[in-house]
């Protein structure tokens, strides 16, 4: 089965390509790129004139919730949401129930993904048993079972000695530890960013230092051990500075940022809308500016959504009692195109790089490139489509987004995984 994608603007940062080209896919691989390519016999032809053809987007920070929280999301619904959002692969965090801290859970997730996944799924294993922060999970076996990184995401491994050992123990596997950098004591009881807005609202705050302290600690541990540290969902100007300095020093540290931390500030919490509650919290204007700067210069390596589905009953009522987190897969690309690319803040090729090439390199995943022989994972964007975010129409099982009702220009148009159209 062949697929010829004609006349799209092909943006492939890995190959320094940004030109109108045809892309020929044969089977599950990219065959070649060129102008005026003839369609092989029996090939399906896609007219992509006016569209942007990119390597498939990869979201390395997603909560698929299965097993254990199927009422929030499943591998099937979460990967459909991913496909609808233009992602061809996702990495799913370990805070399922039971926790993905042993091979049987990793196998289960992979089996569900093989049976029902609309996109590629790469599990992330827990660092500690039950995310308890007390003893290491069976990391070698998890790596062998296919975990592409280790993280207790949602919780911070507060014991620095244990985290050091995790970094050392996983060195031979060539996969990073992903830090949810949040000092439990500094963050204790906080429900939003600590600043003038939290003071005015009387909502307990989480100071930026709760993140900065832990990013600093983890960078020092990475320096000590030589491990690859990846910092999840950077949210503060201080953390950006720490990562920048560490990279300059040669520490093996990478970082990600979410669309919501780039686009929203703590001012959004004034409504007490529980969909503005996430962890880390929405920060100040100064922080969003630093995050954007970090993303542009490459201090921040990639964009990840931290897609965190929750049922309505967990996301209504009292702000301080509501669950942390929002869904992100189906809004990320549209938001970034409309709010950052269209106004000229973020060049389109940079956005594509931070969503495809860079996350692929970071975790050593297939994809992220349209070079001949690459997996035929492609995201095709319609940069001029105007649409309104309607949570009721999400493929995700959950609706918890602060972006409902936003009108955006630009969105995913087609998602191709392994040479097959996963979503259109």
């Amino acid at each position: 089965m062949s697929l010829l994608i004609r006349n799209g603007r092909v943006v492939d940062p890995a190959g320094s390509m940004d030109a109108v080209q045809d892309v020929l896919v044969k089977g599950d691989r990219v065959e070649r790129l060129g102008s005026g390519l003839p369609a092989p016999d029996g090939a399906a032809v896609i007219d992509a004139a006016g569209k942007v053809v990119c390597p498939g987007f990869i979201d390395i920070h997603v909560h698929l919730r299965e097993p254990g929280f199927e009422y929030k999301e499943t591998v099937a619904t979460g990967t459909r949401a991913a496909a609808a959002g233009g992602f061809t692969a996702v990495c799913c965090m370990a805070n399922t129930h039971p926790v993905n801290d042993n091979r049987s859970i990793t196998d289960y997730i992979r089996a569900r993904a093989a049976a029902e996944g609309a996109v590629r799924v790469y599990p992330i294993g827990a660092v500690t048993r039950g995310l308890g922060g007390k003893e290491l999970a069976e990391l070698a076996e998890l790596a062998e079972a296919g975990c592409v990184a280790f993280s207790d995401d949602g919780k911070c491994v507060m014991n620095a000695a244990l985290y050091r050992r995790a970094m050392e123990y996983t060195l031979p596997f060539g996969v990073p530890v992903i830090s949810h950098a949040e000092d439990d004591h500094l963050a204790d009881g906080g429900a939003m960013h600590e600043g003038v807005v939290s003071t005015e609202l009387g909502v307990p705050g989480v100071p930026a230092a709760a993140e900065d302290v832990m990013v600093a600690r983890d960078i020092l541990l990475a320096e000590l051990t030589g491990a690859h540290l990846h910092v999840a969902h950077l949210s503060t100007a201080g953390a950006v500075r720490l990562v920048r300095e560490a990279k300059a020093r040669g520490v093996r540290v990478t970082a990600e940022v979410t669309p919501h931390h780039l686009l929203l500030t703590d001012e959004a919490v004034r409504s007490f809308d529980v969909n503005t509650k996430m962890n880390p919290p929405l920060r100040s204007r100064r922080d969003t500016e630093a995050l954007l700067e970090g993303l542009l210069e490459g201090t921040i390596d990639c964009i990840a959504t931290d897609h965190a589905p929750h049922a309505l009953s967990e996301k209504e009522g009292e702000f301080d009692r509501a669950a942390f987190g929002i869904v992100g897969l189906e809004t990320a690309v549209g938001l970034l195109l409309d709010r950052l690319v269209r106004p000229g803040i973020l060049p389109l090729p940079t956005l594509v790089a931070r969503l495809s090439r860079d996350p692929a390199r970071l975790l050593g995943l297939p994809g992220g490139s349209l070079a001949p022989g690459s997996p035929a994972d492609l995201t095709i964007l319609d940069p001029s489509a105007e649409w309104t975010v309607d949570p009721a129409r999400f493929e995700s099982r959950s609706r918890n987004t602060p972006f409902g009702g936003w009108t955006l220009t630009g969105r995913p148009w087609m998602t191709i995984v392994g040479g097959r159209i996963a979503w259109q």
């Binding site: 600590e194 600043g195 003038v196 939290s198 003071t199 005015e200 609202l201 009387g202 909502v203 307990p204 705050g205 100071p207 409504s271 007490f272 009953s313 209504e316 009522g317 009292e318 702000f319 301080d320 009692r321």
Partner: protein, 312 residues
């Protein structure tokens, strides 16, 4: 100009004209407390639900009396003996109560923003009777009424609010109200009890009681919750009292002779306020409580009263 809001959720959202309308209305309703028959028909046939998720004697009683003096039917709901104790969510409970068509829901809740959420969810009027550390607008209004009765005006007055500002909804509502009426506000307490960036609300900050109370017209002492100690915010109640407790000696040495001492209650006698001050000539604490009923009558009347109707 009449009252136009559906709800009373915060002092922050009110402008000076609205605040004065509430205070003036409350002032005119005070005389009802002195009548032999304390009942006017203003809210006859109206239903008020007191939805109290947090313990409160004074505020709930005050709202209840206010509603009854206005001839409304007042129903008290407290979370302890209700469906909330059986696990029903806040929103579900509220919607169930709304289905019984009350005219006003008065809500007290330990979560900041609870009244905002309720006001959006319910078609009836919602009055915030205290939501977490966010706001307590009727307390601020009764404080303002008390201040005006004793000082005659607002503009140019100076106030020191002393104690646990960080966890105080009374402080927040008063800061907004007082600033809008042209008063100068200083908040004072140990730095661990002063919320970050509070200066941006237009107040001065002091870390020394003696400085904070010098030359002010009003001193408002806040209650110290015992759990602040276990949270590591202060070393001990003893030390707090030593440095932040207001005594007659400190008052005589540093404050003006005509200063008013206020406290939203309940008072920790001997902690933030010495007994001789709580009961002494400077104190207007019981006056605050009395004015609380008038303020709540004014709020209920303006929110639920016959729109464009006559005086009660």
């Amino acid at each position: 100009m009449g009252w136009s809001r559906k709800d009373l959720v915060s002092m922050r959202e009110l402008d000076a004209v609205e605040i004065l309308m509430l205070v003036d209305t409350a002032a005119s309703l005070q005389e009802i407390a002195g009548r032999e028959i304390k009942k006017v028909p203003a809210l006859r046939g109206k239903t008020i639900v007191n939805l109290f998720y947090e313990n409160s004697t004074r505020t709930r009683t005050s709202f209840e009396i206010a509603g009854k003096w206005l001839s409304a039917d007042v129903i008290n709901f407290s979370a302890g003996g209700s469906s909330a104790a059986k696990g029903e969510s806040f929103i579900d409970t509220a919607k169930n109560i709304a289905a019984m068509s009350p005219d006003v829901v008065v809500v007290r809740h330990s979560s900041a923003g609870a009244a905002d959420v309720l006001a959006r969810a319910l078609p009836c009027a919602v009055v915030n009777a205290g939501d977490g550390a966010h706001e307590h607008p009727t307390q601020a209004l009764l404080d303002l009424l008390t201040i005006r009765e004793h000082k005659g005006h607002f503009e140019g007055l100076s106030v020191a609010i002393v104690g646990d500002i960080a966890h105080s909804r009374v402080a927040r509502s008063n800061i907004h109200g007082m600033r809008k009426l042209g008063m100068t506000v200083t908040v004072a307490g140990p730095p661990t009890l002063i919320p970050p960036f509070v200066q941006e609300l237009g107040v001065k900050v002091s870390y020394r009681l003696e400085d904070a109370i010098r030359d002010v017209d009003v001193i408002m002492m806040l209650r110290l919750q015992q759990e602040r100690m276990t949270a590591g915010l202060i070393p001990s109640v003893r030390e707090y009292s030593r440095y932040w407790g207001l005594t007659l000696d400190k008052l005589s040495a540093h404050a003006r002779p005509d200063v008013l001492i206020m406290h939203p209650g309940p008072v920790n006698r001997g902690v933030e306020l010495s007994p001789e001050l709580a009961d002494g000539p400077y104190s207007v604490i019981l006056d605050q409580v009395a004015k609380g009923v008038a303020v709540r009558m004014a709020v209920l009347f303006l929110l639920a009263g016959n729109k464009g109707g006559g005086e009660p």
